[in-house]
């Protein structure tokens, strides 16, 4: 860890590919977030939940990066650290300012964060809990504009109206309260709120998970359209691999607080290099009954490791099909196994893992 920090920038530049390019919007370096476990009357700290443990990745301008993993893998925590909703335990969150300078959001105070909070916005998972039931839509969407003194009065109303129209809601409804809208419409309100300040980076935390199938497709298409229109960059946090595949350019796979694989979407789905990614891909039910026979589903044994008390060596080794002696005592580093393709597995090159081919069959 300390060795990595001394030559931090060099290390993570090589550790996740093209961080040297100038169009990096967000560069996360060795990010850590540990939550203390307290016990006893004096709430002494007896251990830590290593929710995010030393992860590095970057997001290019205009790109959609997916952060995928099972519950408890730290994907949401990572997203919230980037927004500085949590204070970091360690590491850096470098964000490109308007003038092209990289600013570390980690140590900034709340006041210093203010201009960046306009540029990094969030779309939440639950469209029912993330909107204040006592505020009409015009306030929900317009408050960021008012608080940041971007617009007021009639201008504010016009901006809200155009935002609502853009996300497919009728501007006449802006005086209504959230209860009058369905789940999909509320998610649109949430998106309008996230976009109200012309952000550059949007963190979408499970933005479509709570929606019905038919509405989910509408929202996914909307998210894609808005990206083209406003030149947005997304960090798309999700557990749903088929959604990730549809919307993302690059995918970061996490397992128990660590990154296990990073690659372009197509690469990752066609040729995974980490056994966890393979198992994750194979666990997704295929919506074609004729594939049932052909598919040798990999069923993982046991549960996701406890981030407060992770196993030794590779965190995945107790569940891995290809486990060998080395795995239980040596922690694998995230390393480049193919151009632009990173995996944290000792045997990445030796294993022949199964991905999903373009026809939807497992090849």
């Amino acid at each position: 860890m300390s060795a990595q920090q001394t030559n931090g920038s060099q290390q993570s530049t090589s550790a996740n590919g093209s961080a040297a390019a100038d169009n990096v919007l967000l560069d996360v370096k060795n990010l850590q977030k540990w939550f203390p476990i307290t016990a006893g009357f004096f709430r002494r700290t007896v251990g830590h939940v290593k929710a995010v443990d030393d992860i590095s990745f970057h997001v290019l301008q205009g790109e959609t990066v997916g952060l995928v993993g099972e519950s408890g893998c730290g994907k949401t925590t990572a997203g919230r650290c980037i927004l500085r909703a949590y204070d970091l335990t360690g590491g850096q969150v470098l964000f490109q300012d308007h003038d092209g300078k990289m600013v570390d959001l980690g140590p900034l105070t709340n006041n210093e964060m203010k201009p960046y909070r306009q540029q990094v916005r969030m779309i939440f998972q639950d469209p029912f809990n993330s909107l204040n039931p006592r505020m009409p839509v015009i306030d929900i969407v317009g408050d960021p504009l008012r608080i940041n003194s971007v617009a007021s009065g009639q201008e504010l109303e016009d901006r809200v109206a155009s935002l609502l129209a853009r996300v497919g809601l009728r501007p006449e409804y802006m005086r209504r309260y959230p209860h009058a809208f369905s789940g999909g419409e509320r998610q649109r309100i949430g998106i309008a709120r996230a976009l109200s300040l012309d952000p550059r980076l949007v963190v979408a935390d499970e933005a479509v998970s709570a929606l019905d199938v038919s509405v989910r497709a509408q929202i996914l298409n909307l998210i894609k359209d808005l990206q083209e229109e406003f030149n947005l960059t997304y960090l798309f946090v999700s557990h749903d691999l088929s959604v990730i595949e549809y919307i993302c350019d690059r995918v970061v796979v996490m397992y128990v607080g660590k990154i296990v694989e990073v690659a372009e979407t197509e690469e990752l789905f066609e040729q995974p290099f980490h056994p966890y990614t393979e198992a994750l891909l194979s666990a997704v039910p295929n919506p074609d009954p004729r594939m049932r026979q052909q598919k040798a589903r990999i069923v993982l044994e046991g549960d996701v490791a406890d981030p407060a008390n992770p196993p030794s060596g590779c965190y995945f080794h107790p569940r891995c099909r290809y486990v060998q002696d080395q795995c239980s005592h040596e922690t694998p580093e995230l390393r480049e196994v193919a151009p632009g393709h990173f995996a944290a597995c000792h045997f990445a090159e030796e294993l022949t893992l199964t991905g999903v081919t373009a026809s939807g069959e497992l090849g």
Partner: protein
Amino acid sequence: METPVLIEIKNLKTHFFLDEGTVQAVNGVDFTIHQHKTLCVVGESGCGKSVTARSILQIVDQPGRIVEGEILYHRPDRLTGIGSSGTTPNGNGADGSSTTEIIDLAALNPRGRQIREIRGQDISMIFQEPMTSLSPIHTVGNQITEAIKLHTDMLDEEADEHAIELLRRVGIPRPEERLGTYPFELSGGMRQRVMIAMALSCNPALLIADEPTTAVDVTTQAQILELLEELQDEFGMAIMLITHDLGVVAEMADDVVVMYLGQVAERGDVDSIFHDPKHPYTQSLLKSIPRLGISRTLQRLDSIRGMVPDPYNRPTGCMFGPRCDHFMPGRCDAINPPAIQLGDGREVHCLLYEEE
């Protein structure tokens, strides 16, 4: 090929009488469940799939009640005359193929003795959220043996042993120790396994699974689905699986019922539903899901326009009419499409298939 009928639902209507008006949650549903088969009921939220399942067990929450229709339960031989003699709980599902007794579950008193004998014994249910459907203040062992003691004449020790056997069967490590644990000590996947063990404790003829994998991760989902398939082979029960995930349907189902807004849109065997869908709703639903391996090549997903209508304000005629691409003015908004038989057990509720 075709196994005997287990449950026959005829024109079931379950309505909720609220201050704001009547919600017709289930409005004229017909389908059948066959022995040893898996029937998947698929639809979006608010389509009435859960209420249908709850109607079968007569556990619809107040102020809802069954207002019309029949739920005919063809009770397998091995289960007739229960209450008096205990049924053998292990692996004799295959012999219950002939039926003698037919009970109309819809006509039973929801609080009566007869339906209480059927619940847990003939028909059992597992729920979506295992944390809220297990009692937090009783141990796992307590909760499983309760059903066993109620429906069989096993006593404490024997029931405990049977519970341990069940827990082992559903893949819980060290089941002897688990009897004394509370649900909060278990992970989500483990809780769902406990629920399954409990549901299977009396070797039911039908297991209703209401979104059993919605709250768990994909890898756990794969474990649970695999387990259900294995247990079905072993115990021979029919499964009614309620889900909104078409992937799960494709993996598990023998027969499929597609529901929309309290009505059946279409039903048939799983292969024809996925490869030859007839109802415009099924067709667009299948087009709107991202598919692994295919969706990355797509520019856009096809989506269904609009949204599921408000339950107080149902459209006239066909429920799907306002969102349908094949909408025929003057017909679709006037006539509620009847069931149209297409042969091979397929049925579609759509005027496009009406014979002139």
